[in-house]
Subunit: 394 residues, 2 copies
């Protein structure tokens, strides 16, 4: 048995992503969720259970440490709310567990929410905390996310003969798409020259190769596929989902032959998702893609890990402009992490909602003509976890 | 549709609870999970998905922030592992979500684990963090758990005319039961005089009225009911489950008529669970109970909230000795939180496993003769969340 075609997304909502200094965590929950309720034509009292994805409750306040942080602002008692976290896949884990609960028959109408407040105060936990979880490269070894993904870029350049100019093309595309998205953190187009001349962060990654940290919240209302028409005629179905954990992080993956040019977690999650969805040739069958472009190099290796391009040839998709809106396989049509920003818990839900909007023809200036099947992908850990969703029309 | 009778627990494992200075988080995962695997007669490679409950990854290391913390020590790649947290209901949320996934048909054999390392270094997060989540009484207002539950005791004393001597009887019972449990944190019997003369923590609660903070891990292997016999002839079924969130915490509940003598979250979760399980008269139909005795007064109000005694008369159960092993309704037969200790994420799984052991006749010196139906209960938040499971023989 599988989830395929059993779960419908009937409502979607999202705050503006950005520096939401004027909004609390609770404010963002209220805005995104009420949008989703209105979109589904329901009130919060109809929701039977919910899943809340927040990765790091401690970076700002304690909000998000348990489901109560969703119940409270929505006054949505006494339904169960489960809080999940899974690095950058946190939002998708909320949707995935909500979907399984729908299929279990336990609930008919549920809410999945991702929320993260990141711009106010970063938390590092105790000094001891930074020296445990021995394998973790960021927490325990003083590495940084740009520093780790820079290794990926360097190795990819070495293996496949591209250079920073190809990364700049990814940034230019995603800024172009982001300029069309009223909810993106950055809405300014950039040129390749601007990207190439921007200050370095961790060579060969410069400023425009990195996604920002951001505040934001996104919410989705899910129901059984056979009940969807009760709420709306405009809904999408979950066609497939894969969530997988590969040998943890960079170091451990290195022990197991990590190539520094791709992620096993994405490869396995994509395979799991495609098998469920019945997708054999993603480049031919998928119309629109949201993928995890935490850095520009990540977008290029994601092309390959998601089976959109052969190994070592992902860069050709951006070189040929094929991942622009209007291209063969439009990618990150809302601007991606690069310009939407990356409020960790919210990103996965934002991606799923945007792919759904594309399929429903509601993507406005970002619309991909005739989008029928779309995928959404997050990668976290770094590298250890990945989640891939396939969505389609009923 | 409901979960009733669709999910079997076929394997159980638990570390010693206590000051496990000699064990890391990973060490505890390995010990509890391999016990559960051995118990189910399987290897980790047969598990298809897992749920990990850890409440506060930041109190010691970062372990538990995502499912990777389970994958790594068990080398259990690439299966999905979902991390959940829900205050003191964290462990039960792992089991509940695992059970829904089984019923969804997505997986046939899954693992639910609770793990918490609390004795090494307490974390308080950033100063800012302590001033947000405005409603939370412990994080933001400098209150303490003993201080909050002391209010409960004072009000209960005032309303129903008991005093500290009744609390001492609860402590004596749970220490008696804990003395029989090789895995308990404290295994020493105490007398009422010792409890009454112990130093005060927050009046009227003294030292023996409070559960300790503790390291520990517990694990359960779950499968579809119709597949259980493939693994073992000794298994229990989930008969009912309720997880509910009541208006958050003490303050908010006070606005809504909080009596300071009981918790709406437990009452609703019990009702949800009993309806699913078909339990109408819990005092007559339930044979053994594990409930959330974070403080001795909590055990007394839990009796009432769980429907084991009328309002204001819970204390009579302990006054009459009815909640001892051998009594009418044995409660916390493994010593409860009081003597097992309370490694937050692990406690819910420990309780479920102990009730299962009672039903399977494997509880050793703690065995309740003829136990067929048992319930397990956690309360967290404080007060905002509660979960109740009913277990029974096939």
């Amino acid at each position: 048995m599988s989830l395929k075609d059993k779960v419908a997304i009937v409502g979607m909502g999202q705050t503006k992503f950005g520096e939401n200094f004027d909004m609390s965590y609770h404010d963002m929950i209220i805005e995104a969720c009420w949008q989703a309720f209105d979109n589904a034509g329901i009130g919060p009292e109809e929701i039977q259970a919910a899943w809340l994805g927040t990765y790091l409750p401690f970076s700002w306040g304690y909000e998000g440490v348990a489901g109560v942080s969703l119940s409270e602002p929505l006054n949505m008692y006494p339904i169960p709310v489960t809080r999940v976290s899974a690095y950058c896949c946190t939002g998708m884990e909320a949707v995935r567990n909500a979907a399984m609960a729908i299929v279990s028959g336990e609930y008919d109408l549920v809410l999945a929410v991702g929320c993260e407040k990141m711009r106010d105060v970063p938390g590092r936990g105790s000094l001891v905390a930074q020296h445990v979880e021995r394998g973790h490269p960021l927490y325990c070894k003083g590495r940084t996310a740009p520093g780790m993904f820079a290794l990926l870029a360097s190795r990819y350049f070495h293996e496949y003969g591209i250079d920073r100019r190809m990364l700049a093309k990814v940034a230019v595309k995603n800024h172009k798409h982001g300029s069309l998205n009223p909810l993106a953190h950055f809405r300014r187009e950039i040129t390749e020259e601007m990207a190439l001349n921007a200050p370095p962060v961790a060579e060969p990654l410069h400023l425009f190769d990195c996604c920002p940290t951001t505040d934001g919240c996104a919410a989705a209302v899910l129901t059984r596929a056979d009940l969807a028409k009760k709420f709306t005629d405009s809904y999408v179905l979950i066609k497939g989902v894969g969530f997988n954990i590969a040998a943890g992080y960079y170091s451990a993956q290195f022990d197991q032959g990590f190539s520094f040019t791709g992620f096993k977690s994405t490869q396995i999650a994509a395979q799991t998702c495609y098998e469920m969805a019945g997708i054999r040739e993603p480049i031919e069958e998928v119309d629109v893609v949201e993928l995890h472009d935490c850095f520009t190099i990540t977008e290029i290796v994601d092309y390959e890990d998601l089976g959109l391009a052969p190994k070592g040839e992902g860069w050709k998709l951006i070189a040929d402009g094929e991942t622009y809106i209007g291209g063969k396989i439009p990618v990150n049509t809302d601007g991606g992490l690069k310009t939407c920003g990356h409020p960790v818990g919210a990103s996965g839900v934002r991606m799923i909602n945007h792919v759904a909007a594309q399929i429903l023809g509601r993507a406005g200036d970002m619309q991909v003509d005739g989008a029928e099947i779309g995928i959404a992908h997050t990668l976290g850990g770094p590298g250890a976890v990945a989640c891939v969703f396939a969505l389609g029309a009923p």
